[in-house]
């Protein structure tokens, strides 16, 4: 079987598993799932949420670290978990919980994909940050949704990569047959990750506009200029243009997306400079 044919078959298998709802997707940890559910209540008690989150010490430490950062008043005074949650507010806590869970999806112990998945995560954080900043240009003020949409726009990639690893092991170890090369790996991931990402977004009960971004953000929607899809599409192209990306990119297509985005979003050159100025340095602390 030729590599191209194998690549097509793999794509079909992944898409079939999604259609049949038989794709094994990462689940939200129970602590996160429960906390997200409770946080939907506008009168939520942060003491109650704190009791849930403290069951996961890593997550609790992350909440405390964010709440004591300079952005949230900073300082050296120690704060309790409920105080930290109150300081952050429900929206930021929700984003932090999803971010912490998503980050784990991008961590692989397999050296074949570990590095590239780490870079995809860094790209995702860049797109999330840019999306939140670009949002300021539109009338939409839901910056947490923009951040999540940017963060999760490539969340299908590590899942597809894991599936491909599983196939590769079967082909090479069990059947002793050659597998597709790395260029085709990238190709299969590129063609299938959006469907997998949407399935994951739905499983995690992400807002509809977030899953729409995962599905559609490869192109602009010129019928709705202020849409989150356009914001994520533009941010994605800016992150690639700035060099924060994993894998190969078509430089001409990235230039085209930046150029279209300047018009569709209404971003002047001055604004684009402000968005991308020192981006790598700003993100350096956000990856871990």
């Amino acid at each position: 079987m030729g590599a191209e044919r194998l690549s097509e078959q793999l794509e079909q298998i992944v898409l079939k598993r999604i259609a049949e709802d038989s794709l094994v997707l990462p689940t939200l940890p129970s602590v996160v799932a429960k906390a997200l559910e409770v946080l939907k209540d506008p009168d939520v008690s942060f003491k109650h949420v704190g009791t849930m989150i403290e069951r996961d010490p890593v997550l609790a430490a992350r909440v405390l670290r964010m709440a004591t950062s300079a952005a949230f008043a900073g300082g050296t005074r120690k704060v309790t978990l409920p105080e930290a949650l109150t300081r952050l507010g429900a929206k930021s806590v929700r984003t932090l919980l999803v971010e912490a869970t998503a980050q784990k999806v991008f961590v692989s112990r397999d050296p074949k994909i570990a590095d590239s998945m780490k870079r995809v995560w860094q790209h995702s954080v860049a797109v999330a940050t840019l999306s939140r900043d670009v949002l300021a240009l539109s009338g939409n003020t839901d910056s947490e949704a923009a951040y999540l949409a940017g963060l999760l726009h490539d969340v299908g990639k590590p899942v597809v990569a894991s599936i491909l690893l599983e196939f590769e092991r079967q082909m090479t170890e069990v059947y002793n047959r050659p597998f597709i090369d790395s260029a085709e790996w990238v190709d299969v991931i590129g063609r299938t990750h959006r469907g997998v990402g949407v399935a994951l977004g739905e499983k995690w009960q992400m807002p509809e506009q977030v899953t729409r971004c995962i599905r559609d953000c490869a192109e602009y929607d010129n019928a709705d200029r202020a849409s989150l899809v356009n914001i994520v599409c533009f941010s994605n192209s800016l992150a690639k243009k700035t060099g924060i990306y994993a894998g190969n990119i078509d430089a001409d297509e990235v230039d085209a997306l930046v150029m279209i985005g300047r018009s569709i979003i209404g971003a002047s050159d001055e604004i684009i400079k402000t968005l991308t100025r020192g981006l790598k340095e700003r993100l350096a602390n956000l990856y871990d």
Binding site: A71, D255, S263, T276, R277
Partner: protein, 387 residues
């Protein structure tokens, strides 16, 4: 005068484009498809082509390809309702200067037409990829942004959920410094879309708001403004912390008049405390509280040497220093004039002072200054030094 060719199969689009281009003072001609467009390009030279993508007979990409084939390098802006990246990527490869998506705002057409005619670059050059790119200047002149955007200019935006903070700061700022107080992130974003600010102050403790993120978002809308964090003295190095978050500076709460005055000096004192016109240097008026006079003279003295060097470089023999508007209380002015005279002597120039009669009396009362060349007006000083 530049001449622009608009190629579009829609008469209404051509009419709108032609009107807006004429309003800019350019000549415009029209073609309704690629064939007509090429024919017009064969008849005369144009400075810019505004080109649609989808047209009968010969579409935009087809016309563009033929133009480049025959060596026609006229800049082209695609003006189209096509936003597929593959289509735009293809025309970019053939060579376009910019892209406008229909329906377009008149200001977008104006700015891109002007930008291309002035030879400025498009998408590839706009990224600020260097981390060393300078932060906003402390007292960056927002005039350009003001004129361009036609927005209302306000000096200070305070984003703090406590209204008392706005009130306190308002009470400590001079009347001529305008201030908007905003209590929520959403309202701040809205305000930054509508106005131009010189300095944006963002509280680090707004409930439910990540101040660093909010500041970055506001910065997108206010690229010329300086961003200052409003923070408590909660650690030894708050300044480093807030700079790490993307702020330019910090103003501590609760406010002290000294801190507010320093803030004013940094962002609002006329940076041109000492202006030069040919060989006449003029010290700006002092408008602060009396106890700030030392700081005023400190800054004037700091500026003096560099302004003096410029005058010396222009080969003038005399420097005329006009201090009519400078405060004369205490001995600060006398000390400054002595230092300025010495610096002038060191660069091989002669020194003259213009000031009030009160200053003349003061200078006459000191042995070191009574011989200083003094004049009651700039004109007198110029007449004397030229004679």
């Amino acid at each position: 005068m530049a001449t622009i060719l608009t190629v579009d199969d829609s008469r209404s689009v051509r009419t709108i484009v032609a009107k807006q281009v004429r309003d800019l003072g350019f000549e415009v001609e029209e073609a309704e498809d690629g064939v007509q467009g090429l024919s017009k390009l064969g008849e005369r030279e144009y400075d810019l082509v505004l080109l649609d993508v989808t047209m009968p007979n010969l579409d935009g990409p087809g016309m563009l390809a033929k133009m480049r084939e025959i060596g026609n390098k006229t800049p082209v802006i695609m003006l189209t309702s096509e936003s597929k990246r593959s289509v735009v990527s293809n025309v970019m490869k053939i060579g376009i200067a910019d892209y406008i998506l229909k329906p377009f705002k008149p200001e977008e057409l104006r700015s891109k037409v002007l930008s291309v005619l002035q030879g400025e670059g498009a998408a590839e050059e706009v990224l600020a990829v260097s981390a060393e790119a300078p932060a906003p200047a402390p007292a960056a002149d927002p005039a350009a942004a003001r004129v361009e955007a036609g927005k209302q200019f306000v000096d200070v935006l305070v984003v703090d959920d406590m209204e008392n903070v706005h009130k306190k700061l308002r009470g400590m700022l001079p009347g001529h410094v305008t201030l908007n107080g905003i209590t929520s992130a959403q309202a701040a974003l809205q305000s930054c879309r509508q106005r131009v600010y010189r300095v944006v102050l963002v509280d680090t403790e707004i409930p439910d708001v990540d101040s660093a993120v909010l500041a970055q978002q506001l910065k997108v809308l206010q690229p010329h403004a300086a961003f200052v964090a409003l923070a408590l003295r909660s650690s030894n190095d708050v300044l480093s912390e807030v700079r790490g978050q993307g702020f330019d500076n910090v103003l501590f709460k609760p406010f002290s008049q000294d801190n507010v005055d320093d803030f004013l000096s940094q962002y609002f004192d006329n940076l041109d405390l000492l202006t030069a016109e040919e060989n006449v240097l003029k010290a700006a008026a002092f408008t602060g509280r009396p106890e700030r006079v030392d700081k005023y003279y400190g800054r004037v003295a700091e500026t003096f040497q560099s302004v003096l060097n410029k005058v010396a470089a222009a080969c003038f023999e005399d420097v005329i220093l006009d201090v009519s508007a400078a405060p004369t209380t205490g001995d600060r002015l006398v000390k400054f004039l002595l230092a300025a005279a010495e610096q002038t002597k060191q660069v091989g120039m002669r020194f003259a002072v213009v000031g009030t009669p009160e200053l003349q009396k003061i200078l006459n009362s000191y042995t070191e200054t009574k011989e200083m060349r003094f004049y009651g007006s700039v004109q007198d000083a110029q007449a004397a030094t030229q004679g």
